[in-house]
């Protein structure tokens, strides 16, 4: 469990990125932080592994204040995946994945075989092991980034817009891969995104921010969709546009589900799909 207790972060230039923020992030679940640009999501994420230290308040991991932990040791125990992968350009895929295990003193050969296993876990062909990041597609690079994040078998995985820079098809593929992985591994995932659909798909708990790092609403996807706290949330999740207010329309071809704009959103499956 990760707990934020009245955390404030003011940068030296005076910007208050996060103001009196409190949140409990349950273990083995995915918590998604979603909100517009500049709302403090990255700042919050990076305070967990002490890439940024708060000005006020405290962050606890399993009831231990991170301020008392060695930042390097803490970071090595937490997976971190970011946009544009952040891979080391001069190291091969396998070497990138093995970075942290090697820093921790794992022998080269066993770090490599573990890296190859992880490549399989994230759906990468073992043939790519000796390529350099620049020789991979954006989607492949992100998979390597996820594999590197998992390399020390961390309890916590921080993901900052990991799929933000890949095209929509690849993004959908990576999202489903992550869901599958999370089903198997049950990490405590903290996931940052701009994309509400991504948040609704991946999150067990969703925190929606408005500008200035203020929490607009938090809850499960169902809670947020069913009862948006205010107009901001409603417009953010698209409920006001009727984008998610679906109804069934009977056509000659069968029953289809239509949104309020009259656009087809899907078909109604025969059996009691609504339950």
């Amino acid at each position: 469990m990760i707990e934020f207790r009245s955390v404030t972060k003011q940068f030296p230039d005076g910007t208050v990125a996060v103001d009196d923020f409190s949140l409990i992030i349950p273990s083995h679940k995915t918590t998604v932080l979603v909100g517009s640009s500049g709302s403090g999501k990255t700042t919050i994420l990076r305070m967990i592994n002490r890439m940024i230290d708060p000005t006020h308040g405290s962050i606890l991991i399993d009831d231990r204040d991170v301020a008392g932990l060695n930042p390097v040791a803490l970071r090595r125990s937490i997976g971190y995946v970011m946009q544009n992968s952040g891979l080391l350009p001069h190291r091969t895929v396998a070497q990138n994945i093995a970075t942290v295990p090697r820093l921790r003193g794992v022998r080269r050969a066993s770090a490599r075989s573990q890296a190859l296993e992880l490549m399989q876990t994230v759906g990468l062909d073992a043939e790519l092991a000796d390529r350099y990041p620049s020789q991979l597609s954006g989607g492949q690079q992100q998979r390597v980034g996820v594999a590197r994040g998992l390399a020390v078998d961390p309890n916590i995985l921080l993901m900052d817009e990991p799929f933000g820079a890949v095209d929509p098809l690849v993004r959908a593929e990576l999202q489903h891969e992550l869901l599958r992985l999370q089903g198997e591994l049950g990490k405590t995932v903290v996931f940052v995104t701009h994309d509400v659909d991504e948040a609704l798909l991946l999150g067990d708990q969703i925190v929606i921010f408005r500008r200035g790092g203020v929490v607009a609403q938090k809850g499960t996807p169902a809670e947020i969709l069913a009862s948006p706290a205010d107009e901001f949330v409603a417009s953010f999740v698209g409920a006001d546009r009727g984008k998610r207010a679906l109804h069934v329309e009977h056509t000659r071809g069968g029953d289809i589900v239509v949104d309020s704009d009259g656009n087809a959103a899907g078909v109604l499956a025969d059996e009691n799909a609504a339950s």
């Binding site: 990076r46 970071r75 971190y80 952040g86 001069h90 970075t99 590197r148 933000g164 820079a165």
Partner: protein
Amino acid sequence: MSSFIAAFGWIFDPAHNVGPDGIPARLGEHMLYTLLTLVIAAAVAVPIGFLIGHTGRGRGLAVQISGGLRSLPTLGLVILLALLLGIGLIGPLIALVVIAIPPLLAGAYAGVESVDRATVDAARAVGMTEWQILWKVEVPIGLPLIVGGLRSAALQAIATWTVAAYIPLGGLGRYLYDALPLRDYPQMLAGAILVIALALVVDGLFAIVQRLVTPRGVSEGRVSEVHDTMRSASGRGAVLAD
């Protein structure tokens, strides 16, 4: 043309290839002085350059000091220090070190700085110490530029040691200064040719080293890197347009 033939005749004359003022001895002295200069200058400039490049602090000051050092008149500095410290190696050595510092410093900080800050940030976020970031990320990726600094410092030192032979010292410059009063033009030209040849060979060797130290993933990646940046830039644009 005939003077060149005379100069080459001088170079290949067996009499000029033995003894304390023979070509191997003078060449050896010149290379030794140059090496000594580079070792001392690098010991001073490279750590400072790494510090500036890694922390991003002190760059303005370094640029100013380097500019100041660069604008010092070379021969004047050599002679001044020789007068202050007496005839011998120490005076010109200090002058040469001062002259070699700016390119080494610039190469060191430019090399470290050239590494994408996002890469450095990622290295830190996965748990590298600052020391590991420097040695495992910034130095290997920036090495071609760092070697580039060494390359220009070496050429500068080779050229300036020729001039510094004015203070009675060894090195290939001796041939110029010894021949001048005697109007021995073949010897002067031979000295000049030897210095130029040394500079060209050293430059060529450094060019090869620079290529060898360019990390594979970095040299091969240029095109697709540009491609990726453009793609993510347009992706961001789309988000803003939403």
